[in-house]
């Protein structure tokens, strides 16, 4: 098990470095207009050159990369060009907001999709057919549009839930919860539809396996075969589905934050993208990739623990 985790850790580290380097080279190769954007149309050539030197943009690209990487390894992701806020701090302030949204959404997705998927696989019939229809709908309706519809219905028409804003959990748990209901719901509707469909497939695959028949031939009840054996075997594909949903939900949260004016990582990223605040963007990408890699690693470890055969691969 330790060797298994070690191998994965190495692969993950290489992955993070590769993504960081590629993103850096792409993002920093298009910084020609930054100084002018910062100083305004009237800046002289000398002022622009001075600004570029201040930001380190006059250095060769690889030298910039080396300097950025050196700082990043010590946890210093640079300073925002536009707000002068340290990037690490900006991210640390906003990450909990986005994470509370995404973690809640993943938890709800896991719970609902496992229940629906297992029920559809075992029962079949109308439940199964409605899940097929729902999965197409969940795929076809963009989550930000679902969010808009929810806003129109619950906030504009009924006025029961806030349309915008975010309340810290420490300030008011009730306010925090009601601020997150609509954002989380708009994320969960889409992800549940597709995850339930895949859980259903995984359970059906396991129930078709030979060992299920053999266990039943030994006199075990269908309930114990389903809950002890089939679910445990379906767990690793289902966990993979959830880890993919986690990545997708991180992306989805960006757009959802815009709809509900939630001051999370998404809002930070959108503003940085529109302004061309490259240090912030680099910081966000690296942070999220590390997060994704950690989640994937955790999922791998859990999969290996649930199904020992996975470890061998």
């Amino acid at each position: 098990m330790i060797g298994f985790v070690g191998r994965r850790l190495m692969a993950c580290a290489v992955l993070v470095v590769m993504i960081a380097v590629v993103t850096f080279l792409l993002a920093f190769s298009a910084t020609g207009n930054v100084a002018r954007n910062l100083l305004g149309e009237n800046a002289t050539a000398d002022q622009l050159a001075a600004k570029n030197a201040e930001l380190g943009l006059d250095q060769p690209l690889l030298a910039q990369l080396g300097s950025w990487a050196g700082h990043a390894l010590r946890g210093d992701l640079g300073i925002s060009w536009f707000t002068n806020e340290p990037v690490s701090q900006a991210i640390a302030n906003r990450l909990p907001v986005t994470l509370s949204m995404v973690v809640l959404a993943v938890a709800c997705t896991a719970l609902i999709s496992v229940c629906l998927g297992v029920a559809a696989a075992v029962r079949g019939g109308w439940l199964d057919r409605s899940i097929q229809v729902l999965s197409v709908l969940g795929f076809a309706l963009p989550n930000f549009w679902v969010a808009l519809v929810l806003v129109v219905f619950f906030s504009v028409s009924l006025g029961v839930l806030p349309a915008t804003g975010y309340v810290r959990l420490s300030e008011s748990p009730g306010g925090w919860a009601s601020a997150l209901v609509l954002p989380v719901a708009s994320l969960v509707i889409g992800s549940t539809a597709s995850a339930a469909q895949q859980v259903r497939g995984a359970v059906i695959d396991v129930l078709r396996q030979d060992f299920v028949r053999t266990l039943r031939a030994r006199g075990l009840s269908p309930r114990s075969v389903l809950f002890r054996h089939a679910l445990r075997n379906a767990a690793s594909p289902a966990l993979t589905v959830l880890s993919l949903q986690f990545i997708a939900l991180l992306g989805g949260a960006v757009v959802i934050e815009k709809v509900f004016a939630i001051p999370g990582l998404g809002t930070l990223t959108i503003n940085a993208a529109l302004q061309g605040d490259v240090p912030v963007l680099m910081g966000v990408v690296v942070t999220l990739v590390v997060l994704v890699v950690i989640v994937n690693l955790a999922i791998d470890v859990v999969s290996g623990w649930v199904n020992p055969k996975v470890r061998v691969r």
Partner: protein, 582 residues
């Protein structure tokens, strides 16, 4: 081996099939989806001709106006005609999706073909790249690259296409790996065709259908993501797009909430049609495959009058057993069979003759959809199983009827240690305490000839050999001291050296416990070794029954004769034999 013929086929193993278009066009769902898509695409292409207004002309009196009054669907936040903008926006949004799809297709299919066909170093590099791309949070990366790519959404869609390519890569690679060693590809190689021609002519044909299905999904994703980017304001404000229209509607959501519906519904309709079209194609392929694999209508088989034992002493009495599947296939037709107490009956026949289906019927564990037809009767120790409720039937399984499967490895749950899989039924069925069940499991493992019972007890199934696994399964089957043991090809999947040992073990256990045994096999050698009587099955019917020695000495049915002859020639009769039925 005698699985029903209606197993659904996954997208992964679709066979080569020409002329896909015609059956797809007969599927109502596909026609509907295609019609909606064509309307949307045509309306977008012909926007300059059919749009009543210019997408950019403003009317101050129509700002956030409702439908009607010159504007079919009302006006947007700047007083422009929503309907005309929807049409023009379709061109830009669909073009963006087409760009992402083309890039993903080109990269994914090409790398998948190369990776799957050549393998090795290339495969390693591409596989690594695919993993890297799949770990990316796409939306964030697209935002981060926005400045580098410039304000054109189309460049972002090129980048998105790159990020979507692993889906195609994995699909194509898997398919190519599967067909690379098919005989017709080998034949093409031997006959001197060059690699590019083999890939082009034989392999592309195989991957075509799954790629089309995946493409419909990817196109949908591309539309949704592109709209998301534009909704965030990352796009050219001068060009109308569905996402941009949603952004405008969002800004005016309090004054004109209805405006979010038009672009939203258009996106949803387009994406849903794409997905449904993909689903319909998959359904059509599955249906054509399963209907083509259906067995040819069996010739009427002339059976000899069965030698039945109508004394009450038979432990298992099967009368007129017929098994059917929802597709209409009937795989067992009116089988009569007796197994007396303590006797070993061999049920012999080639693949697809219905012998495994007969065995599963006795267990009550037919594959999904399988049902007993008509007046099928299975009497076990005087009780009618065919009409027994499932929960009463379950009580018999394990305790009075044991089952030894064919494939040792696939019949152990890979997630549980070997010992747990023995202990669990012992506790559930025999009601033993945990300690007693563990002791019993260990002694069973020792009894079936496993050298280090404790080690095997603590091992996972993938850590033991096939022969050991089969012994474990035998231990499990006899753990409830059943009266009847059903063994389905118990030695077929084993090495020849192990086969004899396992047969000997079965014979010993059978005499020791005084069990009756129904042994399903295609191998007359096994029958000669262990069986008292034999029943020969062909095309779902029993054609000849008798004691082993007389039947071997003087087979009367031509089918039995040909089976015996092929065994004597030392070739196992696993393929359909041509028998003169006359």
């Amino acid at each position: 081996m005698t699985q029903p013929v209606t197993q659904p086929v996954g997208v992964e193993n679709l066979p080569v099939r020409r002329g896909l278009l015609r059956p797809v066009l007969r599927n109502p769902l596909a026609i509907g989806a295609l019609a909606v898509l064509s309307v949307i695409v045509l309306a977008s292409l012909l926007a300059p001709l059919i749009a009543p207004h210019s997408p950019t002309s403003l009317r101050l009196d129509q700002i956030n106006a409702g439908p009607g009054d010159g504007y079919l669907l009302g006006g947007d936040g700047a007083g422009r005609d929503i309907f005309s903008r929807l049409l023009y926006a379709g061109r830009n949004t669909l073009l963006g999706a087409a760009i992402a799809l083309s890039v993903a297709l080109a990269l994914g299919v090409l790398s998948g073909l190369l990776s799957g066909y050549y393998g090795g170093f290339l495969d390693g590099i591409f596989g690594w790249g695919a993993n890297l791309l799949m770990a990316l949070p796409t939306m964030i990366v697209l935002l981060a690259l926005f400045q580098a790519l410039g304000s054109s959404i189309y460049l972002s869609m090129v980048a998105f296409g790159v990020m979507l390519s692993p889906g195609f890569y994995r699909l194509v690679r898997g398919q190519v790996m599967a067909v690379k060693h098919e005989l017709y590809v080998d034949a093409a190689r031997v006959s001197g065709l060059s690699d590019p021609r083999i890939i082009g002519r034989h392999i592309l044909l195989v991957v075509r259908a799954p790629v089309v299905i995946q493409a419909s999904v990817v196109a949908g994703i591309a539309i949704v993501v592109q709209s998301g980017l534009e909704f965030l304001g990352l796009g050219d404000p001068a060009t109308p797009t569905w996402g941009g229209m949603l952004q405008d509607a969002f800004t005016n959501i309090y004054t004109s909430p209805i405006a979010i519906w038009w672009p939203g519904m258009t996106i949803a309709l387009t994406v849903a049609s794409l997905v449904l079209l993909g689903n319909a194609i998959r359904d059509v392929i599955q249906r054509t495959t399963s209907s083509s694999t259906r067995l040819p209508k069996p010739q009427p088989v002339v059976a000899l009058p069965p030698v039945l034992d109508d004394r009450e002493s038979a432990l298992l009495r099967i009368r007129n057993l017929s098994v059917g599947y929802p597709s209409g296939a009937e795989v067992v037709h009116g089988v009569d069979l007796d197994v007396r107490r303590g006797e070993v009956l061999g049920l012999v026949g080639e693949s697809g003759s219905g012998k495994t289906q007969t065995a599963f019927s006795v267990l009550g564990l037919l594959p999904p959809g399988g049902t007993l037809l008509g007046s099928s009767s299975i009497q076990f120790d005087g009780a009618e199983l065919a009409r027994l409720p499932e929960n009463e039937r379950r009580v018999l399984r394990g305790r009075r009827i044991g089952y030894i499967p064919q494939e040792p490895m696939s019949n152990l749950d890979p997630c549980f240690r070997v010992g747990q899989q023995l202990v669990e039924p012992l506790r559930a069925v025999a009601g033993l305490s945990k300690r007693a069940a563990i002791a019993e499991a260990l002694s069973l493992l020792e009894r079936v000839g496993i050298p280090e019972p404790r080690r095997t007890f603590a091992a996972y199934p993938h850590e033991i050999s096939g022969g050991m696994a089969q012994r474990v399964l035998i231990a499990g089957a006899v753990s409830g001291k059943p009266d009847l043991l059903i063994a389905d090809e118990p030695t077929t999947a084993l090495d020849v050296t192990v086969q004899a040992d396992v047969l000997e073990l079965l014979r010993d256990l059978q005499t020791e416990f005084g069990m009756a045994m129904l042994l399903v096999t295609h191998n007359f050698g096994v029958v000669a070794d262990i069986c008292d009587r034999v029943a020969v099955m062909q095309d779902g019917r029993i054609v000849e029954t008798g004691d082993v020695r007389p039947l071997f000495a003087d087979p009367r049915h031509p089918y039995t004769k040909s089976l015996l002859e092929s065994t004597l020639e030392d070739s196992t009769p696993r393929t359909r034999l041509e028998v003169n039925h006359a």
